[in-house]
Symmetry: C2
Subunit: 522 residues, 2 copies
């Protein structure tokens, strides 16, 4: 069945998952639903002890069983030790058919591949799956399905009950014996615990895993005692130097500097750029360079950012510290400056992933964005983006907040260098659709800027300002193809190994098993 | 059927409510339940408008209907204007059979009596019902039932689904157009919005009612945009000078000063008084005097309070500001100093009523109290307390956090002057049981201090310290009766007008219609 971005979604997968095909961004807007709920085991006695001696005891007390769903957050990114620690114990205890629901998975979790191969883990739900796990899934090793969700989509899946978490494990940089968890205050600080809030709220059992037990009460607590069943102290929950991977260095790449300049001009010359504007940017070199150059224009014009949203980095925190931004709301900290800014600046607020991006609550922060600046592996002539599947067909990226912010923001700017090596980033059809073109307003490349024809207002503004070289998206694609030729399409096998879920739970696209490239016989 | 505090609970009321009789404090400890959930209407469009022009429009948009349950918080106390404003519109629109679920009701709501009489309001759920409403209920004017719950019990009732709120109205001292609510930042500040958190979480529709619309985003928000459907700006939500009713004046009442001194000695000479202890006290003159005198001992002995819980007043905030207390968690501010301290001291944390006191989450703050100091209208020789029904049989008080903190604290101290005028506060059987004797450890009167025989450890400690005149509870009662005689029992009619719900939802006692006193014929 064709969906609203023109992808054929096989009936087989719709039947198997009970899902509908994607029918446009606002299909479920205003359609009330009954929220799901967890089983809660109340603690009334004042001498109740939540401490367990190890992960094994936690699993036993939480009634671990075959077929359960366990969940994790990804705030420790490449430095995460919690997922593997818990999964190894689950493996050792011999549980099978586990659904692993993580807010994201990456190279820190390569050790899970054998557990995928032996049927310990049969389904994976994640924003994306970088590293060896992505490779394993794309080669058909996962017995069930990989479901790739945006950060907001994950909250939606859990809150609607599509995903029911049996046990949530929450790596907590600091925690007390009653379960008050914070992203700060320990030896493995990650800033905030935003992605884990929904797990704490909705899982039947919640285990806080910490390497820094502090005095009661560990307030401010991001996840508090009323949500946590057990507390487990371990040696180490993360590798600090691998947590802050996004450390912003000024880019020296001329293409990135050029794109950053185009991007800055686009922001500065569109109608939402006025005092109090709201803004989000990613961690790519061009995005960060653009934030820095935008700040100069803000100062010149005395325009203050009312709200910065993120995924935060040092340049955004500097805007706050310098008074150029009034408030930051934070779901993730990509560098150590951003981590520390959580505690040092009182206008830097941790928020939940739901507050940030869920499409199914009463209004997330993404809905209030004026600008978001995003990167993309591929953008096609329908303005559809692909941020998950590499042009070799292997799952290699993550949806993150891409579809959430792209839909929410009044002006969504996608940055992509026209060519990624010999691969055109601007193409006729993306390998896999992860963000629908409906959400994307402007594409910035090093060869020029294209405006989505749905937004003649933005095109007019940029024409009037004469600030960037304007092209159509087809012109950009043609330039790319004229340099490197039109690429052969990736050849996939028949088996569906994963689905790209739209924010609202419908199917945006499917991901099939890769097969070795074979030349056409014609 | 007799319950665990020896009260006869008629089968009629158990059948009507589906409830069990009270079976002891920890009856439901560890018994898992499925949490209830609201209907959620998602907002995905980035141009969605939550503003409504008046309460009428809010009611229409929230699908107001006969038989619905509407809810309110009581943070504006005697100065509340929101309940009457909304109920008058409901009355005007002609809706009937309304269940009014408020965290508390008082004299500010006397205007609701005609709506009780004409069947607009048929059931009331509240911590208590002071003023004319209490009088109306006790005289049988409410067609349905009045259910009196503790603050924690209310959260439990809503979270278990026993109470399903159709529309929650949240008076917000400041709010933005997307529904971010704060107890501060406006012209009618009440400090915190703790009692409303559960309503915002669990009601199908949530309306923020404010008299101070501020710029987006109104962060820190206690109740955020993801929970709020509509925002309504009105002229005035409360009368500031009536909000801060608990302004602490040093008491000059010699009986209170004596009881405060006994209370201080009890705290200072029991084993939980050590560095890091946790403490809650009420707003009565003796409680406040005791906090002040305790602070002198804390300074002398270099003992710091680790955690203060409340219901806060100036003396508690002073402990925090002076560094004698390390952290305060706050559900309600009784005076202007406490209101302002929310924003001025970073270790003063707003918490939800659930975090404070719910018996059915994974561990509330009350469970971690070392000491709580409470007042009571009556205490009986079984240590049962009555804080709701006057000795004339009229509903006149509120459970508040009394049963919650009393169960939770390791040392629960109840202060009561032996005689309230000509009425003995220490008696053989309280008029109505609201807090079970199982929860009460020590009773302080102006004639001496009695220790619950369940706590020989505390009795030994106080005997060893020789710091207060120790009596048995029967001795205290006998002294009272020897002065004023044994009082005639209040004579009630047959009709049950209300129930005193235990924290866990079982029935602690019933309240019957009062009838004119008639002399015994024997």
């Amino acid at each position: 069945m064709l969906n609203a971005v023109g992808r054929e979604i096989p009936e087989e997968i719709l039947e198997r998952t009970g899902k509908e095909v994607f029918q446009g961004n606002n299909y479920k807007d205003g359609k009330a639903f009954q929220k799901a709920s967890p089983k809660v085991t109340p603690v009334m006695r004042n001498d109740h002890d939540k401490m367990v001696k190890d992960i094994h005891e936690a699993l036993v007390k939480c009634n671990a069983h075959d077929g359960m769903t366990v969940s994790f957050h990804h705030h420790f990114r490449e430095g995460d030790l919690v997922v593997c620690m818990v999964m190894e114990e689950i493996h050792k205890m011999g549980f099978k058919n586990i659904t692993l629901s993580a807010s994201s998975l990456g190279k820190a979790h390569d050790a899970l591949v054998p557990m995928i191969e032996d049927g310990t883990i049969v389904n994976i739900e994640s924003s994306g799956v970088r590293g060896k796990i992505g490779d394993a899934i794309s080669h058909g090793k996962l017995k069930g399905l990989a479901t790739m969700r945006s950060h907001g989509g994950r909250v939606r899946a859990i809150e609607t009950g599509e995903t029911h978490v049996d046990i949530a494990f929450i790596g907590a940089p600091s925690c007390d014996e009653y379960g008050n968890c914070s992203g700060m205050g320990g030896k493995t600080n990650c800033g905030v615990l935003s992605y884990a809030y929904v797990d704490a709220e909705m899982a039947d059992y919640v285990v806080a895993v910490t390497d820094c037990l502090v005095d009661y009460p560990n307030y401010p607590a991001e996840i508090n005692q009323t949500k946590v069943d057990y507390v487990c102290v371990v040696d180490q929950i993360g590798i600090p130097e691998k947590i802050a991977t996004g450390a912003a260095k000024p880019t020296t790449d001329q293409r990135k500097i050029l794109m950053a300049e185009y991007c800055t001009q686009v922001v500065a010359n569109t109608p939402y750029f006025k005092d109090g504007f709201s803004y989000q940017t990613g961690v790519g070199g061009a995005s960060i360079a653009s934030t820095i150059s935008l700040s100069k224009i803000m100062e010149e014009k005395n325009i203050h950012m009312g709200l910065g949203v993120g995924g935060l980095t040092k340049p955004m925190c500097e805007l706050l510290d310098r008074g150029l931004a009034r408030k930051l709301v934070d779901t993730q900290d990509f560098d150590l400056d951003a981590v520390n800014n959580v505690r040092t600046n009182p206008n830097h607020f941790p928020i939940s992933a739901g507050e940030y991006a869920s499409p199914m609550n009463k209004g997330a922060f993404v809905n209030k964005l004026d600008y978001v600046i995003l990167a993309s592996l591929e953008v096609d002539t329908h303005f559809n983006c692909n941020v998950v599947v590499g042009s070799d067909g292997i799952i290699t990226g993550a949806q993150g907040g891409h579809p959430d912010t792209a839909q929410g923001a009044k002006c969504t700017i996608v940055i992509a260098p026209l060519l990624q090596g010999r691969i055109p980033a601007i193409c006729t059809d993306v390998t896999t659709v992860t963000t629908p073109g409906e959400s994307v307003d402007i594409v910035v490349t090093d060869y020029g800027v294209a405006v989505n024809p749905r937004r003649p207002d933005l095109l007019e503004a940029l024409k009037a300002a004469d600030c960037v070289p304007l092209k159509t998206i087809e012109e950009l694609r043609d330039i790319a193809y004229s340099i490197v030729g039109e690429p052969e399409k990736v050849q996939f096998g028949d088996r569906i190994v994963g689905i790209i879920e739209a924010r609202d739970g419908t199917v945006m696209d499917v991901v099939r098993e890769v097969k070795p490239f074979s030349f056409r016989e014609d």
